[in-house]
């Protein structure tokens, strides 16, 4: 899975399962603010990433994660490490 398809897949999931307006998604935008995330939503992010990519995000992965790009990068790194 290349970078672009990972990004596309993540965006798709956020739109379909998190019901996020596609327009708010952009690499430089704030993930927390754009998605209006509360503490429970992070639990669901872990679940949907695991069920779609087979990798599990842990609490430390969210530390320092600000933008969508940060989020893409973490997932991409995890996938790469798995392979």
């Amino acid at each position: 899975m290349n970078k672009v398809s990972i990004y596309q897949k993540i965006n798709e999931i956020l739109v379909d399962e998190f019901e996020v307006d596609e327009e708010v998604i952009s690499p430089a935008a704030s993930l927390k603010e754009s998605l209006d995330l509360d503490s429970l939503d992070y639990v669901d992010l872990v679940v949907i990433i695991e069920s779609n990519f087979g990798v599990k995000l842990v609490e430390a992965d969210f530390a320092g994660m600000v933008t969508f790009q940060d989020f893409y990068d973490v997932v991409e790194r995890k996938i790469a490490a798995k392979n």
Binding site: E19, D41, D44
Partner: protein, 407 residues
């Protein structure tokens, strides 16, 4: 001084209709909501008969965050409550500006618990369950969800009392308002419909067996009854103090005047005569009414051989053979945790519209209960006072007396 308690709104989501108008028509026409659920045959059920409601789609009205905490019982309860609030002329902003409570009957969340456990068994990691599961997997799921969605700030709890849950919830709401502790409470009962919820009940061999004729399977009081048919959905009743209802110009649908309760103190599943009779007498005393004042009794009767017979004997003991008697479970099946609330909605609809719904499939009652004034075909009959019975496992009994509103 105790306050008068009135009903200002009702809502219903049941197998005989998903709103008040549909349900009213079904009740008058004696329409059965019982079907065969093929999934139950695969699942190992002895009886695949059940009441069934359409699966709600709440995507357009509730956010993802709100929906993922809701199991089916909460979804049904939400829809019933929206209808009830609308009838009570309570808008979202009105609710936020005053203290509104919620007391709702519910006694299982089987599907949520089992699905959650399945995930952990599969993944071996609790962090992959998801955030909504805990809020779906507790008995108080309906009250926690609705209190959050509607922004309630009053009393907030679930009443679990087996098949009398919904009735006790209304009884408790009645007491809270009567004592001046609350002015406005959303009361009701909800019941999940899925094989998980009813498998162990089916295993007791107490479900109806007439699989070839689903609409004839639930036949309370009839000699040929073979057992109950499980069912579900939700029913909401808005209870309000008379003063509050008058002050805001709310439509008053009826008045709750008596709540009787008791416990059999005997077998866990076999009902007796004394316990129900005591609950009915207590409801009458509280309502300051005589047995002959009650025109209609909506029986608990679920279509089980002993349960129906004992209730009939209890009614005969307290009321004699005068009041009209029918069990709407002949049409709806046994709505379990919801039944005590839905049967208040059904009976109040009858009282509002001047008819008594039939106990369908009642061809010939048991020999020793024939004195009861059974209604086996709908009759047009104006009436002012009814009593509704609800009993449950563990010997819990509840009887509510409701009166047509009169200044």
């Amino acid at each position: 001084m105790s306050k008068r308690v009135v009903i200002t709104g009702m809502g219903i989501y049941s197998c005989i209709g998903t709103n008040l108008e549909e349900v009213r028509n079904s009740l008058f026409e004696g329409r059965s909501g019982i079907v065969i659920d093929k999934e139950r045959i695969q699942f190992g059920f002895k009886s695949p008969l059940t009441g069934m409601v359409p699966a709600p789609d709440l995507k357009a009205v509730l956010s993802r965050r709100q929906r993922i905490s809701m199991g089916e019982e909460s979804e049904y309860a939400y829809l019933a409550t929206v209808e009830a609030l609308e009838q009570a002329k309570l808008r979202e902003e009105d609710i936020l500006q005053r203290e509104v409570g919620i007391l709702y009957g519910n006694d299982s969340v089987s599907k949520a618990v089992i699905e959650t456990t399945d995930i952990v068994r599969d993944k071996r990691d609790t962090q992959l369950i998801g955030s909504g599961a805990i809020f779906k997997s507790m008995n108080s799921t309906v009250t926690m969800n609705l209190a959050t969605i509607f922004g309630l700030s009053g009393v907030n709890m679930t009443i679990s009392a087996a098949c009398a849950s919904g009735s006790h919830a209304i009884g408790m709401g009645f007491m809270f308002i009567q004592q001046g502790l609350q002015d406005l409470i959303i009361c009701g009962g909800a019941q999940e419909i899925n094989p998980y919820a009813m498998a162990s009940f089916d295993g007791l061999g107490v479900f109806a067996t007439d699989i070839d004729h689903p609409e004839q399977a639930s036949r309370p009081f009839d000699k040929r009854r073979t057992g109950l048919v499980p069912s579900g959905g939700a029913a909401t009743v808005i209870l309000e103090s008379y003063e509050s209802a008058i002050k805001r110009g709310a439509p008053i649908v009826a008045e709750v005047v008596g709540y009787g309760f008791s416990s059999n103190g005997g077998h866990i599943s076999t009902p007796n005569i004394e316990g129900p009779a005591k609950a009915m007498r207590r409801a009458l005393v509280q309502a300051n009414l005589r047995p002959q004042d009650v025109t209609y009794i909506n029986a608990h009767a679920t279509s089980t051989p002993l349960g129906d017979a004992n209730e009939a004997k209890a009614i005969l003991e307290v009321f004699g053979g005068n009041p009209y008697v029918s069990s709407t479970k002949s049409m709806t099946g046994h709505e379990c945790w919801m039944a005590g609330a839905s049967e208040i909605v059904y009976s109040t609809l009858m009282m509002q519209h001047g008819f008594i719904a039939p106990n369908i499939n009642l061809v010939e009652p048991d020999d020793d209960i024939k004195e009861l004034n059974f209604v086996s075909r709908a009759i047009k009959q104006e009436f002012d006072i009814y009593l509704s019975n609800s009993f449950g496992f563990g010997g819990t009994n509840s009887a509510l007396v409701v009166k047509k509103f009169n200044e």
